[in-house]
Amino acid sequence: MTRKIDRRTFGKGTAGLLLGGTFLGGARSVRAQYAAPAEGGMRGGKLTVGSIVEPPALDPFHQGADARIQVTVLMYQGLMFEDASGTAKPLLAESHELSEDGLTYTFRLRRNAVFHGGRPMTAADVKYSYDYVRNPENGSPGAGDYATIEEITVLDDHTVQMRLSEPNAALLMTLTNKYGGVVPEGYFDDQAARARMNQQSVGTGPYMLAQFQPNSFLTLKRNPDYWNESSGLLDEITFVYLPNAASMLVALRSGRVDMAVLSRPQDAAQLEDAANLEIRRFPSFNQKSIDLDLAYEPLAPLEVRQAIALAVDKTKLMQAAIGGFGTVIGTMPAGMQEGWGAPVDELPNQGPDLARAKELMAKAGHGGGLELTLTTIIGYDWMDPAAVTLAEQLKPIGIDLQINKVDLGVWINNFRSRKMGFTFNDWGSQPDPSLLFYRHFHKQPEGADFRNWNDGPGSELLDKGRQESDPAKRRAIYVDFQKRLAEQVPTIMMFSSDHVVVSSRKVKNYRHHPTGWYFGLADAWVEQA
C-alpha cells in the first residue's frame, strides 16, 4: 500500500491542529508498540480521556500510586514490557540472554532509543537508572523488587549485564514499567530533579509531558523522536480529571471526553443507549479481596477464617459491588488464571457452604456469635455496597459485622504497619505469580507479610517458585501455594472487575491493558473529519 492520502484539515481555527492527519503509508508491515499493528492508522489529532483518579505526582521512581503508573507508562519505559499474555517481552532491550546458572542476564539494547529532548539512550543510562531504583536509600517503593540484583555492568554502549545473588524467575517481569524506567545518567544528582518530573518528562516513551495542572488536567504530546515510528500516533492526549462517576457519564454522553475507563463498570448499563459510544470490556489483573490480619484477635483462629471464607458468596458480592461486569475468582486474578491459577474446584474453602461454616464457628467457640469490624476505604465506590452485602452474608454464621470507613491515607498506614484488621482491598500486580504473591505473603523479613500470616510452608513455596525457571514446574509450585493460601485464608480473593472502556466511535485501535495502565494509547488513533 503506497497510497498517500493527505487529508489536511484546515479551519475551525483550533490551535495546534494545523497539521491535520495523514494516513500511515504501509503501516501494516510495522509492528505497533503494545497492541495490534496500527493498520491504516492515522497520524495527528487529539484525544481527551476522562478519569476520576488523578496521579498525585508523575515521578515513576518515588511515587507508587496506581494512578501515577497508569499515565507514566506512556512517558517512561523499562527494558521489558508486561505483555497482556503474561510474559515479559523486550521493550528498550532488543534481546536478552540468561547464563546457564541462571544468575547472569545480558541485555542488548535498542540502538535508536532517544530521551525526550533528543539525547540517545546508552547502556550507562540503563545501569544508572536501575542502580538508582534498587538502592533502598533512594526511597523507591520498587526497591524491594530488585533486591536479587547484585551488580549491573556496562559491557559496551549497547549491552548491559545484570548479575543476581540467586536465581529469580520473575526478574524480567520486574524490569518492566511499574517503577522507575530508564532516564538519563545522573538525572537525580540534582535535588530538584524529582520535582521537575511534574513539569518535564525525561523518559524514552512515545509521549512526553506537555502540562500537568493538578485538580484539573494532564496533557501529553507526541514524542517526535520516538524510536518506534509506527507508534505514538496522536498529536496530543489530554487526561481530564472529573469529580465523580456521574459527571463522567455526562461527559461521555455529551462528547466532552472521547474515552474513559469506567471506575464503576456497572455504569456501562447507563450508556448502552448512546449511539455515539462504543463500550468494550477487557480482562484485568486486578483483584478485589477481603484481607484477614492474623494478628487481629478474632481472626487468629483458623476456623473463624475458614468459616468466613465459606460464608462468603462471591457472586452476590460481585453483583452488589460492580454488577455483572467482572469474574469471580479463586486465588488468582482473572487475567492470570489461565497461565498461573489453580483450578478453582481443587481449592479448599470455596463457599458458600453455610452449614460447614456454622460448624467451624461453633468449633472455634463462637457458637454464640462474634463481633467483627470491616474496614473500607472512602472513595472506593464498590466497597460500600459490598460491605453491607458482606454483613448480610456473615449474619447467618453469627458474625455481627460493623463497618469502619477510613480515609485512604489512614488505611495505607494501617496496612503498612501490619494492623489492617479485617478489610477490603483492591490491588493488582504485573502478571507474574512471584510479583503477585511474594511481597504480600512471604514471611518477614524477606516479604512484607502485611497480614501477619508468618507461614513457613507457604514462604518455602514462594522461595522455590521464584528460583524455578521451568514454566511447567513453576506453575505446579504456585498451584501448591494457592492451595495453601485457600486453606489458611489470610485473604479471600473475591473477583476481578473488568476494565470497561467507553469511547467515541472515532477512537480506533485502543486496547486496554489488563494492568489498567494506558499502554494502549501508544497505538490508538483518531479518525479525523
Binding site: T48, E54, P56, A57, H62, Q63, G64, A65, D66, P136, E137, N138, G139, S140, P141, G142, A143, G144, Y179, A192, A195, R196, M197, N198, Q199, F212, Q213, P214, N215, S216, F217, T238, V240, Y241, L242, P243, S247, V250, A251, S254, R256, V257, D407, L408, G409, V410, W411, I412, N413, N414, F415, R416, N425, W427, R439, H440, P445, G447, A448, F450
Partner: protein, 314 residues
C-alpha cells in the same frame, strides 16, 4: 484610630500565628503520612521509608519542623509542595485566583438578586409580598449549598440537556468556557448569599422606616420615591457595604464542597486533595492564606465601617 488599627493588626497577627501552629500540629496528627502513600502496598524496607522521611524532613522533631517552616514563611517563602515539587505560593495563588473569581461573581449575582428582594420585602413589610419573600429566604437558608448544586446539575441535564464543561479554563484563556463552568457553582452559592442579603436589607429597611426622620418625611407628604432614595437607601448603604465583606468571607470559606462537586481547581478543592495526599506544605500554606484573607477582610470591613459611618468617626 491609629492605635486601634495597630491593636487590631497585632491581634490578627497573633491569631494567624496561633492558627498556623494549630494547623501544623493538627495535620501532623492525622495518621498516615505522604511516605506511606508513596510506598502504598509496595512494601519498601525500613531503609527506603527512612530515606523518604528524611527527604521530606519528617524525621525531625515536630517543633523543629515548625520553627523551620515558620522561619521560611516569615521570609516570604511558603515552601515547596511535596507532591508537585512546585513552590507552594504559586500553587496556592493559582487556586486562590479561581476561588476569588467565583467569590466575586457570586457576590455580584447575590447582590443583584438579594438587594432588590430585600428592599421590596422591607417596603411591603407584613404584607403578602413580604411573606412570600420571607418564605423564599427561609428555604434558601435551609438548603445545603451542595444539594442545590446537585439539583441544578440534575435539572440542567434533565430539562435542557445541558451540562457544564469539565476542563477548567481561566477567564484569560477562554472567557466563555470559564463562565459556562462557573455558572452552576455561582448559582448554587449565590442563592444562599442572595437570601442572606435579602434578609439583611429587609431588616435595614424596616428599621429605617421606623426612624423618626423618615416618619416625619412621610408625614410631611414627601413623594415616596424621594423618601426611599433620600432617606432609606442612603441609610442602609453603609451597613450594606460592610455586609458585603462578611458575605465574601463566607463565600470563600464555603466553596470547599462546591469546588469538589464541579471540579473547580480552587482553593477549597486544593486543600481537600492536599489533605488527602498529605501534602502538608500546601495544606499549611493554603490555610495560612485563608486565615490571612479572612482576618484582613475583617479588619478592612471594620475600617471601612468607621470611615463611612460619621457617628463612628468622632
Amino acid at each position: 484610630m491609629g492605635g486601634h488599627l495597630l491593636r487590631r493588626l497585632l491581634a490578627a497577627f497573633v491569631t494567624a500565628l496561633l492558627s498556623s501552629l494549630a494547623v501544623f500540629l493538627l495535620v501532623r496528627a492525622v495518621p498516615g503520612d505522604i511516605v506511606a502513600q508513596m510506598l502504598g502496598q509496595a512494601g519498601g524496607d525500613p531503609a527506603t521509608e527512612q530515606a523518604l522521611r528524611g527527604f521530606f524532613g519528617l524525621d525531625r522533631p515536630v517543633w523543629q519542623q515548625y520553627l523551620a517552616w515558620l522561619g521560611q514563611v516569615l521570609q516570604g517563602d511558603l515552601g515547596t509542595s511535596w507532591t508537585q515539587g512546585l513552590p507552594v505560593a504559586g500553587i496556592v495563588g493559582q487556586a486562590f485566583a479561581v476561588t476569588l473569581e467565583l467569590g466575586l461573581l457570586t457576590l455580584i449575582v447575590a447582590t443583584a438578586i438579594g438587594v432588590p428582594m430585600g428592599l421590596v420585602a422591607g417596603i411591603h413589610e407584613g404584607r403578602l409580598l413580604d411573606n412570600v419573600i420571607q418564605g423564599i429566604n427561609i428555604l434558601g437558608l435551609a438548603a445545603p449549598v451542595f444539594w442545590i448544586g446537585l439539583m441544578l446539575l440534575i435539572g440542567a441535564s434533565a430539562l435542557i440537556g445541558w451540562s457544564p464543561p469539565f476542563m477548567y479554563s481561566s477567564p484569560g484563556q477562554d472567557l466563555w468556557q470559564n463562565l459556562q463552568i462557573l455558572l452552576l457553582p455561582i448559582l448554587s452559592l449565590g442563592l444562599l448569599q442572595a437570601v442572606a442579603y435579602s434578609q439583611f436589607v429587609r431588616q435595614s429597611v424596616v428599621s429605617a422606616l421606623q426612624q423618626d426622620y423618615v416618619r416625619t418625611a412621610i408625614a410631611k407628604g414627601l413623594p415616596q420615591r424621594k423618601v426611599f432614595f433620600k432617606h432609606i437607601l442612603r441609610n442602609i448603604l453603609i451597613p450594606l457595604v460592610t455586609f458585603m465583606g462578611l458575605i465574601l468571607v463566607q463565600i470563600l470559606g464555603g466553596v470547599v464542597v462546591i469546588e469538589s462537586l464541579f471540579a473547580l481547581p480552587g482553593l477549597g478543592r486544593l486543600l481537600l486533595t492536599s489533605i488527602q495526599n498529605r501534602d502538608l506544605p500546601v495544606v499549611q500554606g493554603g490555610l495560612l492564606l485563608v486565615v490571612g484573607v479572612a482576618l484582613s477582610l475583617n479588619i478592612l470591613i471594620d475600617m471601612l465601617y468607621q470611615y463611612l459611618d460619621p457617628r463612628m468617626r468622632r
